[in-house]
C-alpha cells in the first residue's frame, strides 16, 4: 500500500487540498472510481501523510483533519456495525466516493476544455479589423413644462424684488386714544373696555381695536385721565373717567 503512495512525489504543497490528494491516490488503484476500495484508499492516504510527517514536511491542518476522519471511517468499517450510529460507515464511504467521482469528472472536463482550439492560441481573429463606426446623433429631449418652469425661475431669480405689505384693517393707537378719551368723558360709571370698541368692529379689526384701546387706556391712566379696575387676572377690565 505504501508502494502506491510512494509513486506520488512527497510534496504536500502540490495538492489542492485533501480531496485532491485522495483523488490522485485513488487513481493509483487503476480502477473505475465506482469500484474503488475505500479501505485501501484510507490506508494509502494515512501512509502518505505519515511519510510526509516523518520527512518533517509541514502538513497543513486540513490534511490532518482528513487523516483523522479517514482513520475513524476505517475503524467504523472494520468493527462490528453499531446500528445506532447514523450515518452508517458505508454511507460515509459512499459519500466520499461520490465526491471523488464529481471532482474527477470536473478535472477531466477542465482538461478537455483547455485542450480545445482556443482563440488567440489555435485560432485567430482578424489581426487588424477596420472597426465599425457608429455615428451618434443626439435626439434632444425637453418638455414644455421644463421650458416654462425654467423661465419662471429665471424671472424669479433676476427680476427686481418688490415687497408689498397687504393692507390690513387696523385701529391705530392715536385713533384709539382719541376715541377712548372722548367716550370716557361721556360716561359716569365703570364700563368694560369692550364697550369702547366700535359696534361694527369684527374679526381682525376688532382684535386690533381692542389691543389699541387697551394701550390707549394704559396711556390715559398714566396721564391721570382714567382709572382702571380689574378684580382678578383675565377678569373684565373696567374704565372710568378720573375724578377731577
Amino acid at each position: 500500500m505504501s508502494d502506491a503512495a510512494a509513486t506520488l512525489t512527497i510534496d504536500i504543497d502540490g495538492w489542492e487540498g485533501p480531496l485532491d490528494l485522495l483523488l490522485a491516490l485513488a487513481r493509483t488503484q487503476k480502477v473505475d472510481l465506482r469500484a474503488l476500495s475505500i479501505l485501501q484508499l484510507v490506508d494509502q492516504y494515512l501512509a502518505y501523510v505519515n511519510q510526509a510527517r516523518e520527512l518533517k514536511l509541514e502538513v497543513a491542518a486540513d490534511y490532518l483533519v482528513m487523516a483523522a476522519w479517514l482513520a475513524y471511517l476505517k475503524s467504523a468499517l472494520l468493527l462490528p456495525r453499531d446500528p445506532e450510529v447514523e450515518p452508517s460507515p458505508e454511507e460515509l464511504a459512499l459519500r466520499l466516493q461520490l465526491r471523488l467521482e464529481r471532482l474527477n469528472a470536473m478535472r477531466e472536463a477542465g482538461a478537455r476544455l483547455i485542450a480545445r482550439d482556443r482563440m488567440g492560441r489555435d485560432v485567430f481573429p482578424r489581426g487588424a479589423p477596420e472597426g465599425l463606426k457608429t455615428v451618434r446623433k443626439s435626439r434632444w429631449q425637453a418638455e414644455i413644462y421644463d421650458l416654462i418652469a425654467a423661465y419662471g425661475q429665471i424671472s424669479a431669480r433676476t427680476r427686481p424684488v418688490m415687497h408689498v405689505v397687504a393692507v390690513r384693517p387696523v385701529m391705530t393707537l392715536d385713533d384709539a386714544i382719541a376715541r377712548v378719551s372722548e367716550l370716557v368723558g361721556e360716561r359716569v360709571d365703570w364700563s368694560t373696555i369692550e364697550s369702547f370698541l366700535p359696534a361694527d368692529a369684527h374679526g381682525l379689526y376688532r382684535k386690533s381695536a381692542l389691543a389699541s384701546s387697551f394701550v390707549a387706556a394704559l396711556e390715559l391712566a398714566r396721564q391721570g385721565r382714567v382709572e382702571l379696575r380689574q378684580k382678578s387676572p383675565f377678569a373684565p377690565l373696567y374704565l372710568k373717567g378720573a375724578q377731577a
Binding site: E130, L132, T134, K137, E143, D146, I148, A156, L204
Partner: protein, 197 residues
C-alpha cells in the same frame, strides 16, 4: 471559386490574422520556403474578386480589406435620446420669450454666462437659429426659435407660451412669496375657526 490548396489556405489565414500588410518575404517566414506564394496570392485574389472582402496589393504588401463599395454598410447612425441640460433649457426659454435676442442679452437675463456649447446643442436640436444681427456696435448675432421648436413643444405659435401673469398664477414664479402667502391665509383660517368656538 475553386477549392483552395494548402498554401492558399495558409496564406489566407496568415494575412487574415496579420496586424499589418505583408510582403511575400514576410509571408514566406510563416508559410514556408517551398510554397509558391505568387501563385497562391493570385489565386486568392481571383477567389475574392466580387466578394465583400478583397485581397489587394499595395506597394508590394498584401492585405485583405472590405470591398470599397460596401463602406456605407460599415457605419450606422444611432439616435440617442438625451435630456437637455439646465443651462440649455434656460437659454432656450429666454430665446423663446425674448426673441430675437443676442447672446449678451441672454446672459444678462439669466444672470449667468452661457457656454458656446449650450447654443450649439440648441442649434443641433434644431430649436434655435441665427436670426440676423443687431445693428449696434459689434453687430452681435441674434437668435430666434424655429418652427421645429414649436412642433417639439406642441405650440402653434410663440403666443401660446404662458405670460408672466400665467406663470405667477401657476405658482411657477417667485415660489417663495407664494408659499409665504399660502401660510398666512392658513393661519387666518385657523384664527377664524377659533373665534367661532
Amino acid at each position: 471559386m475553386t477549392a483552395p490548396d494548402e498554401t492558399m489556405r495558409a496564406v489566407e489565414a496568415v494575412l487574415f490574422a496579420a496586424d499589418a500588410p505583408m510582403t511575400v518575404a514576410d509571408l514566406r517566414a510563416y508559410v514556408g520556403e517551398e510554397a509558391d506564394l505568387p501563385a497562391a496570392l493570385a489565386a486568392l485574389a481571383t477567389d475574392y474578386a466580387g466578394r465583400g472582402i478583397e485581397l489587394v496589393e499595395r506597394g508590394g504588401r498584401w492585405h485583405f480589406q472590405t470591398a470599397s463599395d460596401l463602406a456605407n454598410f460599415l457605419r450606422r447612425d444611432r439616435e440617442d435620446s438625451r435630456k437637455l441640460s439646465r443651462a440649455g433649457i434656460e437659454t432656450l426659454a429666454i430665446i423663446a420669450y425674448h426673441e430675437p435676442v443676442t447672446r449678451a442679452e441672454i446672459e444678462s437675463i439669466r444672470g449667468v454666462q452661457i457656454s458656446k456649447g449650450t447654443l450649439d446643442v440648441l442649434m443641433e436640436a434644431g430649436w434655435i437659429r441665427p436670426a440676423g444681427r443687431r445693428e449696434v456696435p459689434g453687430r452681435p448675432l441674434l437668435f430666434a426659435t424655429t418652427p421645429e421648436f414649436l412642433t417639439h413643444f406642441g405650440l402653434s405659435s410663440r403666443r401660446d407660451l404662458p405670460g408672466i401673469d400665467d406663470l405667477r398664477a401657476a405658482g411657477l414664479l417667485d415660489p417663495v412669496d407664494l408659499a409665504f402667502d399660502a401660510a398666512q391665509s392658513d393661519a387666518e383660517a385657523v384664527e377664524t375657526a377659533d373665534e367661532d368656538d
